[in-house]
Amino acid sequence: MKALEDENLTNQKDERLQVEAARQDPARFAELYENNFERVYAYIAHRVRNREEAQDATADVFHQALASLPRFEWRGSPFVAWLLGIAANVLSDRWQRVAKRQEVVTDDLEQVGMEDDIEQRAMLYQLVETLPDDQRRVIIRRFVGQKSLREIATELGRSEGAIKQLQLRALQNLRKRIRSNHG
């Protein structure tokens, strides 16, 4: 238990140093971006219906964060909490502009188990990057590019059956790694 607390403390110190570095030189914002992208994106993806909207909102969050960084005050919470606060405001603003979705926001905000879902998504997005190259290429083309197995097979020069098997193995791999991360 004490080891876990020490690790958290070390992470906080590192993060604090990263924030200070980014304040001095905006080019150092890269580390904060890399460390928190998946969490922020997952938070937004949990609440929206399509990838384009999720990406637009994510971009807004990081732009606002970079612009507001000089005003950031360290209050003991992780930096990602500040980013998620910005994300909530960004989504709220976007949805207020689209009156139809105001009700959905309220519902979503009160959803039970939201935090778990966000954590799982963030972990899943990170794990995709750890897949073997051929499996990762299939997953990205299938879910990001939304291409059919036949199109992917043509692009990669493989048979449709082989692509189908790669898709299955990729998802099984992800399931296995999620389980191992959960311990």
Partner: protein, 365 residues
């Protein structure tokens, strides 16, 4: 075989999920159900390209562009990214058509202004040759040079070619008597006299006039060879010693110790030449002449040589053409030189008249 069946079932379910994302999940085996749950979350998997582009955008532009503008830029980027697979020929350079590219907004008007400026510059460069040729044909250039022959002063050997003169007298009522000229010398000690007022000078000296020493006039009665008074002795109506109606100790109507109408010694009249103690006049105002219309149209060019006497007042006079050019250029040269002004030539600390030559060149470049 079981794996093949499982892969097929999974693919069918994923296909349905992608096609109808809002519909209820299909009924599948428990093993596949868990994988389908993962696939459902992957449906919004972030595009790796977007992740990298956003990072580059954040670090590259350093927030010089407002957030609202960034949204527009991203939207354009995304639309271009989606269209990248089926690019049309006119979309290869989207900025050329005002559509904008990745990181900055583009206005169509800028392209029109830029094109107009470039066209104007190209026109100026293309016609530069014509402009320069015309300029050469239409611009005459004129130069004027004062020619002074600086050399050691040598007395002229012939009376006809001598310059200068002198005069004198002692305010008598009669003109000076006729007689022979005294001896010419470089310096005068005693001016010539006919009516001698001092019979016993303490330091007698031979009367002379300043002129070429080589001239040896006859040595009988001293007088003015040009005078009409034969019998009555007189020194003449002038003053300052000497004979005649002038002044300065010489003989004749001039000024100075020489003989004749001129000034400052010597014989024959006329102005000094530069040299031998006579300094050159210096132009202080020398406007160039204009080109005559006739000569300009005929593209005629050359040099006019003028002979000019610069008086003690620094003004030119007695302007004569020594070498003519014609086509109105001689007149233009005279007209210009007449306006000139000089610091006069000096001899023994006094301004004197000198004759100089002025070369006026007319050229077309």
């Amino acid at each position: 075989m079981a794996s093949t069946s499982m892969a097929d079932q999974l693919e069918d379910a994923i296909e349905m999920m992608i096609a109808e994302p809002d519909s209820a999940p299909p009924q599948v085996d428990l093993k596949i159900s868990e994988l389908l749950g993962i696939a459902a979350k992957l449906r919004l998997l972030p595009d790796p390209e977007f992740r990298a582009e956003l990072k580059a955008e954040l670090l590259g532009q350093n927030h010089a562009v407002p957030v609202a503008a960034n949204v527009d830029i991203r939207r354009q980027t995304r639309e271009q990214g989606q269209a990248r697979r089926d690019v049309k020929p006119d979309e290869i350079l989207p900025t050329l058509f005002g559509a904008g590219d990745v990181n900055y907004p583009v206005h169509r008007g800028n392209f029109a202004i830029s094109a107009a400026i470039h066209a104007a510059l190209i026109a100026v460069v293309a016609t530069a040759g014509l402009w320069m040729t015309r300029q050469t044909q239409l611009t005459p250039h004129t130069t004027s040079i004062l020619l002074t022959d600086i050399s050691a002063y040598v007395w002229p050997l012939s009376i006809d070619k001598s310059r200068g003169g002198g005069g004198g007298g002692d305010r008598d009522k009669l003109s000076e008597s006729k007689g022979s000229l005294p001896r010419f010398a470089r310096e005068q000690v005693t001016p010539p006299t006919i009516v001698v007022h001092n019979e016993q000078p303490k330091l007698p000296a031979e009367p002379t006039v300043v002129g070429p020493p080589a001239l040896t006039p006859p040595t009988f009665q001293i007088g003015n060879p040009l005078s009409a008074i034969l019998q009555l002795p007189s020194n003449g109506t002038g003053f300052g010693g000497g004979l005649g109606s002038g002044s300065g100790g010489g003989i004749g109507s001039g000024e100075g110790p020489g003989f004749g109408r001129g000034q400052g010694g010597g014989t024959g009249g006329g102005a000094y030449r530069v040299g031998g103690g006579v300094s050159a006049p210096r132009p202080i105002y020398d406007p160039d002449p204009e080109y005559s219309e006739e000569a300009r149209h005929a593209k005629y060019q050359g040099t006019v040589l003028l002979s000019v006497v610069v008086g003690p007042d620094g003004r030119p006079r007695d302007i004569r053409v020594q070498r003519s050019l014609g086509m109105g250029l001689d007149e233009k040269a005279i007209e210009a030189v007449r306006k000139w002004a000089f610091e006069p030539a000096m001899k023994d600390g006094h301004p004197v008249a000198v004759q100089v030559n002025i070369e006026v060149s007319f050229r077309l470049y």
